[in-house]
């Protein structure tokens, strides 16, 4: 592939995926995938259904152990982590990788605010000294909780959910649930945010708002975003860098203009997508 030559293993890399391979029994879900994601950039992973996009996320966030490959995260403040060697929850706890799910996974019976507070569990746990300071009602814990609420308020405001902060998350309209899940992932203070089809099921206006939200997160928070998306208008509009997967293999990698005009992509993917877009409009 000519696209393979586009990989740069520059020093500003946030995430270096090298030779990632994931096999489920006889099925090769990801086949020798390598790419790089950078800070201050939105890196999109696109490809038809079943191409292996979600599987890449599941490998990154520790839900699957890759069959082969190295996932190197260069945390801007903390140093290097090899994600493939870390236990699932520690990837979020220590390496600060946040994610959302293709099928929204909120805590449906808990309120919107509680969802955001739980995301700050580890910091609060430390402040409460394993619940002791909390049980005794020490100031140390109360201050920490207040800070957590302030952070939650900030993100509630950003995703337009302040008025519904005390609603049960499961009762929110679909679009609100998607945005809440993003806000919740942001509350762990990630350096890399992985979003699995965040625009799925949104109407065009909500989709537009989502674009703006993602761009502002990229610019203000100084983090890297990894985005799985089907909607070409979203992908082409906000991505800095696109990786195209097909049947687990990378078929193209570059900026939107490059990918849009890559003949391999047009043959394998955009041909189908154009039909899809026609149907959407």
């Amino acid at each position: 592939m000519s696209a393979a030559t586009m990989i740069q293993t520059a020093d500003d890399a946030l995430l270096d995926v090298e030779h990632l391979t994931m096999r489920f029994g006889g099925l090769l879900a990801i086949d020798d995938l390598s790419f790089t994601a950078r800070v201050h950039e939105i890196t999109s992973i696109i490809g038809p259904n079943g191409a292996g996009k979600t599987t890449v996320f599941n490998c990154l966030t520790g839900f699957y152990k890759p069959t082969v490959g190295r996932l190197r995260l260069c945390h801007p403040d903390k140093g290097e982590y090899y994600l493939e060697r870390m236990e699932g929850f520690r990837i979020a706890q220590v390496a600060d990788v946040g994610r959302t799910f293709q099928n929204i996974r909120l805590f449906p019976k808990m309120t919107v605010l509680e969802n955001l507070i739980i995301a700050q569990h580890n910091r609060l746990m430390k402040a409460s000294v394993f619940a002791l300071a909390g049980l005794l009602g020490l100031a140390r814990y109360r201050v920490a909780e207040k800070a957590a609420v302030e952070k939650a308020k900030f993100w509630l405001d950003r995703v337009n959910l302040t008025a519904r902060a005390d609603w049960e998350a499961g009762n929110l309209p679909y679009g609100d649930q998607r945005r809440l899940e993003i806000a919740r992932a942001m509350c762990i203070a990630p350096c890399l945010l992985c979003l699995d089809e965040p625009a799925a099921g949104l109407n065009p206006r909500e989709s537009l708002e989502l674009n703006e939200l993602l761009l502002s997160i990229r610019d203000e928070q100084g983090i890297g975003i990894l985005l799985i998306e089907h909607d070409m208008s979203v992908v082409m509009g906000i991505s800095d860098h696109i990786v195209v997967l097909d049947h687990g293999r990378k078929i193209s990698d570059g900026d939107p203009a490059f990918v849009r005009n890559d003949p391999t992509v047009i043959r394998a993917y955009l041909g189908e997508a154009e039909d899809g877009e026609g149907a959407d409009a």
Binding site: A92, M110, L113, E114, I118, A131, G134, W167
Partner: protein, 447 residues
């Protein structure tokens, strides 16, 4: 107009046919079951075994089942119509104040009133030894319900072997006090600690299990503990049980008519006449205090990161992991703390009875405690109290119906699950609010 009536008629006609079909099906199933269970009865006349038939009784029973099915169908129909009307004008639906909603908005007041009532109960004019004894039993189950509520109601880990920790607490006190002579007040924290350690012991192997599989393993764990108590005769005295367990003292002052040299009895200490009621009332207040501590602890814990993580784990374990929450710690802390309170209750049980044997810790006890939690509404502290009252105190009052106890038990379970699947008080109060209740706009307030 006429069109509407015809469509209405058609709808009701189809409803009638559905009900008729359901009723017939139910009656057939009931009949199949009733023939061997009720219709035919073996009776021994002298040494011979004869078969007695009871056809009329059987038909009456089948008729009763069919009638019950009709009632359930009608009730379903009515509530479906009601739900439809409610969605038609949501405001009315929102304003509908259920018992749970009312209970939640007055939770503090209800809690204080209940506690005050519990405190004055032994001094009320009608209170005799019998009433205080029932009150003590009731409070034991309330405490166990609250303890199990941590595991099942908050953390969502279905535990069918909870009685094992109750047994560990009871035997810890029974054995240490009879063998080493340590006092109740030293043994109480030990009983809690041991039970918590057993909670961890159960927790480790079941970390990866959920739902049905977890239920089966915890059920097995409960039985293992009982079988060990039964068979390790050298240590636990087996089926004979441990007797002569010291009764609690009032911080050193025993509840007895006379005491050995150098020890003041409780009645002498207060300069009042000796009465056997003193100990009963003291035990009552002891369990009241223990239960109150359990409740306060849980209420406080719910608002702390650990407690919130329990509930988050119940809601979605995968989401928890994606937020950097260690599910192992969350599960183990729930098992250990839930078990700890069962351990305290067990030590109390041992000192109250003065005797423990494996018979007190059968699966039936686990089932009752779990029923209290589920019927009350998973996670609701007030629900546990109401359910414990229904399952422990009411059967005590209606002793004449002893043989129907299990039947009523099952009927109550089914009824609650049909009428209100989330339990009597199945409504969750948020642990933190951004908008205080009074000020928030209508939709949120009515939730």
């Amino acid at each position: 107009m006429s069109e509407m009536t015809t469509s209405h008629k058609a709808a009701s006609a189809s409803a009638v046919s559905v009900i008729a079909r359901d009723t017939l099906l139910t009656a057939v199933v009931a009949l199949v079951l009733a023939v061997p269970f009720i219709g035919l009865k073996s009776d021994s006349v002298g040494t011979a075994l004869t078969l007695v038939t009871r056809w009329p009784l059987m038909l009456a029973m089948v008729g009763a089942v069919a009638a019950g099915r009709v009632l359930v169908s009608l009730w379903r129909l009515r509530s479906a119509a009601k739900a439809q009307r409610a969605t038609a004008h949501t405001a009315a639906g929102d304003a509908k104040a259920s018992l749970a909603a009312w209970g939640n908005s007055h939770m503090k007041a209800i809690g204080f009133a209940g506690f005050a009532l519990a405190v004055v109960l032994p001094f009320l004019p009608f209170s005799n030894r019998y009433v205080v004894d029932i009150g003590t039993t009731f409070l034991i189950y309330v405490m166990l319900g609250w303890g199990l509520n941590i595991v099942v109601g908050l953390a969502g880990l279905l535990d069918l072997g909870y009685v094992a920790f109750y047994a560990v607490g009871a035997y810890t006190y029974a054995l240490i006090s009879t063998q080493a002579g340590w006092s109740f007040w030293v043994c109480l924290p030990l009983a809690g600690t041991f039970a918590a350690m057993f909670g961890l012991m159960l927790g480790f192997p079941v970390l990866r299990l959920r739902g049905d599989y977890l239920a089966i393993v915890t059920l097995g764990f409960g039985e293992i503990i009982r079988v060990i108590l039964m068979n390790w005769v050298d240590f636990t005295k087996g089926p004979d049980g441990v007797s002569g367990i010291p009764r609690p003292s009032f911080f050193g002052a025993p509840f007895s008519r006379s005491a050995p040299e150098g020890v003041t009895t409780f009645s002498d200490l207060l300069g009042i006449e000796y009465s056997s009621m003193h100990r009963v009332v003291f035990l009552y207040f002891l369990i009241l205090a223990l239960a109150a501590i359990t409740n306060l602890f849980t209420l406080r814990m719910r608002k702390l990161p650990t407690g919130r993580a329990w509930e988050a784990l119940r809601e979605d374990e995968i989401a928890c992991r994606s937020l950097g929450i260690n599910p192992t710690n969350v599960k183990l802390s729930a098992f250990a703390l839930g078990a700890m309170f069962a351990g305290f209750a067990g030590a109390f049980f041992a000192t109250r009875q003065g005797f423990v044997s494996p018979e007190s810790f059968t699966f039936m006890e686990s089932a009752i405690i779990l029923a209290i939690v589920v019927l009350g509404g998973m996670g609701s502290q007030l629900g546990v109290v109401l359910a414990a009252f229904a399952l422990v105190v009411l059967p005590e009052w209606f002793r004449e119906f002893e043989q129907y106890r299990m039947f009523l038990f099952g009927a109550a379970m089914v009824a609650i699950m049909v009428v209100k699947p989330t339990g009597v008080m199945g409504h969750r109060e948020p642990t933190i609010r951004l908008h205080p209740v009074g000020k928030s706009k209508k939709p949120e307030a009515a939730r």
